[in-house]
């Protein structure tokens, strides 16, 4: 197998005395959609925050394109092209939709204006509703619109790896479908995706490989199709008896 794009080696994350992630190892290769599924408090969000260096690992190593990024700052991780759409969307509530999008391109602020506005147009093609709302404050959007804005904002950074944390949470089924369609589109353009979900059905249907995380540890890893057929997964995450 070729060298993975992203590799976590025995990553631990602590919050004070609590160890929320206890030795996770995973990889994402070029072009893949990989999903990390698990219940509430299993350590999924903590894992993503560690990769983004919002709250870095206490132990273990993270590599991106062969370079160790474990001791970088969050802005340096973003500069490498690792872009996260956080859980709960984290839209800037008082900034307009357009301003939120340009915050996504914050590290490209020296890029020509034309390039940025082309990028914004691309996001508007993916999510036409955002164009209608472009002057509106981010905080006034509906949950679904905010999720679209959060994804659009991440795309403005030209990600080399896109990480999505619970993009379907709290959204109406139709909106969830739109969001997953867009994830497909993004991936078909060659952007690898690391997807965190509680909606295991949707996640495993769109991913190539999956990891199952429980209480801070990986308990299963396999092809997504295989996981869909796995009895333990079916019982615990697909709501089957």
């Amino acid at each position: 197998m070729a060298e993975p794009l992203l590799e976590l080696r025995d990553v631990h994350v602590r919050y004070g005395v609590i160890e929320a992630v206890r030795g996770i190892s995973l990889t994402v290769a070029e072009g893949e959609v990989v999903t990390l599924i698990g219940g509430n408090g299993a350590g999924k969000t903590t894992t993503l925050r560690a990769i983004s260096m919002v709250h870095g690992p206490s132990q273990g190593q993270i590599f991106f394109r062969g370079e160790e990024i474990t001791s970088l700052r969050s802005d340096q991780v973003v500069a490498r092209g690792i872009i996260q759409v956080p859980e709960g969307r984290h839209i800037f509530p008082n900034m307009s939709v357009a301003e939120n999008l340009s915050m996504g391109a914050f590290q490209r602020r020296k890029a020509p204006r034309k390039e940025i506005s082309e990028e914004i147009d691309r996001v508007f093609t993916l999510f036409p509703i955002l164009k209608e709302r472009s002057k509106q404050a981010g905080g006034t959007l509906s949950g679904g619109e905010q999720q679209m804005l959060a994804i659009g904002r991440a795309l403005m950074a030209k990600p080399k790896l896109l990480m999505l944390d619970e993009p379907s949470m709290g959204l109406a089924p139709q909106v969830v479908e739109t969001v997953f369609e867009v994830i497909h589109t993004i991936n078909s353009e060659g952007i690898p995706v690391l997807l965190i979900e509680q909606n295991a059905q949707m996640a495993l249907n769109s991913a190539r490989r999956g990891y199952v995380i429980e209480t801070g540890e990986i308990v299963l890893e396999d092809e997504a199709k295989t996981l869909l057929g796995n009895e333990r997964v079916r019982k615990a995450y697909l709501g089957e008896e």
Binding site: V78, I91, F92, N94, Q107, A157
Partner: protein, 317 residues
């Protein structure tokens, strides 16, 4: 209580002048609160350094005394405001480095910041009372370089039966120029955008690639800079300074920031002007000895009846 309508003019004008100063100082409190959600109680000392640095560099080192005129005056005034601003900006950045960043890196509780800030403020203020270094003021008041003629010979005009002198006019004009510049900086530049982002959602700001430490330093510097400009204006307005000059204007500016909505930059400008007008407006009907009582009564009133201040807590326009 008997009101004297003849005092309306003077109260309005004095209110506007002092209010402009409060507003300039309030910007520092509000900006730091915006990004760190902490009240920088050492900002009164930061403000004081704007007056002290200009007194020392321009008055003591360059020996500027007596009124200047024409182009020289313009250059000298710009030098005053820039030096005051840069010195205070530098002090604010140094303060962040020694009093706040170590706490931030240890994820300290909010109360620790407050205590650290008050400690830093007292430290800096009482250092100014010493006299073992040339820039320290010592125990007594010091004469501030009077580069604008404020006496009968100088420029002045009469407005609502009040004589508006050069220094008084300067305070208001300089303050409004500062408001304009800062408003543009916050709402139109990428630096301003990063400050607003950090203020609105620190996690999202990090995920957008904002360098948090750098933005915090920038915020302290910009807030300190305008506090320093206010310090230089204070010296020019009153003609003399003392080691504890920061104390009363500092807490009034803090009150102004709360009144306008702490964390909100336009709120700080509005709150400063309003506080100046309210405390001086009170002298129309009650004795001037009540001014500070009236001003500080605003603090509990706002916190009880409108805790987010007039304009709310958002930082941008």
């Amino acid at each position: 209580m008997d009101c004297n309508p003849g005092l309306i003019g003077p109260a309005l004008i004095t209110g506007l002048i002092l209010g402009s100063l409060y507003a300039l100082i309030a910007l520092g409190y509000t900006m730091v609160y915006g990004v760190l959600k902490l009240i920088n109680f050492a900002h009164d000392a930061v403000f004081a350094f704007g007056a002290v640095s200009t007194w020392y560099i321009l008055g003591q080192v360059f020996g500027l005394v007596g009124p200047q005129s024409g182009l020289t005056l313009v250059i000298v005034l710009l030098a005053f405001l820039m030096i005051g601003g840069l010195a205070s900006g530098g002090v604010a950045v140094g303060l962040e480095r020694v009093a706040y960043r170590p706490l931030r890196k240890r994820h300290a509780a909010r109360l620790s910041y407050l205590i650290s800030a008050i400690g830093a403020s007292f430290f800096a203020t009482y250092m100014l009372q010493q006299d073992f270094l040339p820039f320290m003021l010592g125990p007594g008041p010091r004469q501030y370089p009077n580069v604008i003629e404020a006496g009968a010979a100088g420029f002045s005009f009469s407005l609502m039966n009040v004589r508006v002198t050069g220094p008084r006019l300067l305070v208001v004009v300089a303050a409004f120029v500062c408001f304009f510049i800062l408003d543009r900086l916050i709402n139109k530049t990428s630096t301003g955008r990063s400050i607003r982002a950090l203020s609105e959602d620190p996690v999202a700001a990090q995920l957008m690639g904002v360098n948090v430490d750098r933005v915090i330093v920038t915020t302290f510097f910009v807030g300190g800079f305008f506090g320093g400009v206010a310090g230089a204006l204070y010296g020019t307005l009153f003609g003399s300074i003392a080691w504890n000059l920061g104390f009363i204007p500092g807490i009034k500016a803090f009150t102004a920031a709360v009144l306008g909505g702490i964390g909100n930059i336009r709120g700080a400008m509005l709150g400063g002007l309003l506080l100046g007008l309210i405390e001086n407006g009170s002298t129309i009907c009650i004795g001037p000895e009540w001014k500070n009582v009236i001003a500080f009564t605003m603090l509990p009133l706002v916190l009880i009846f409108r805790p987010t201040g007039i304009m709310g807590e958002r930082i941008g326009g």
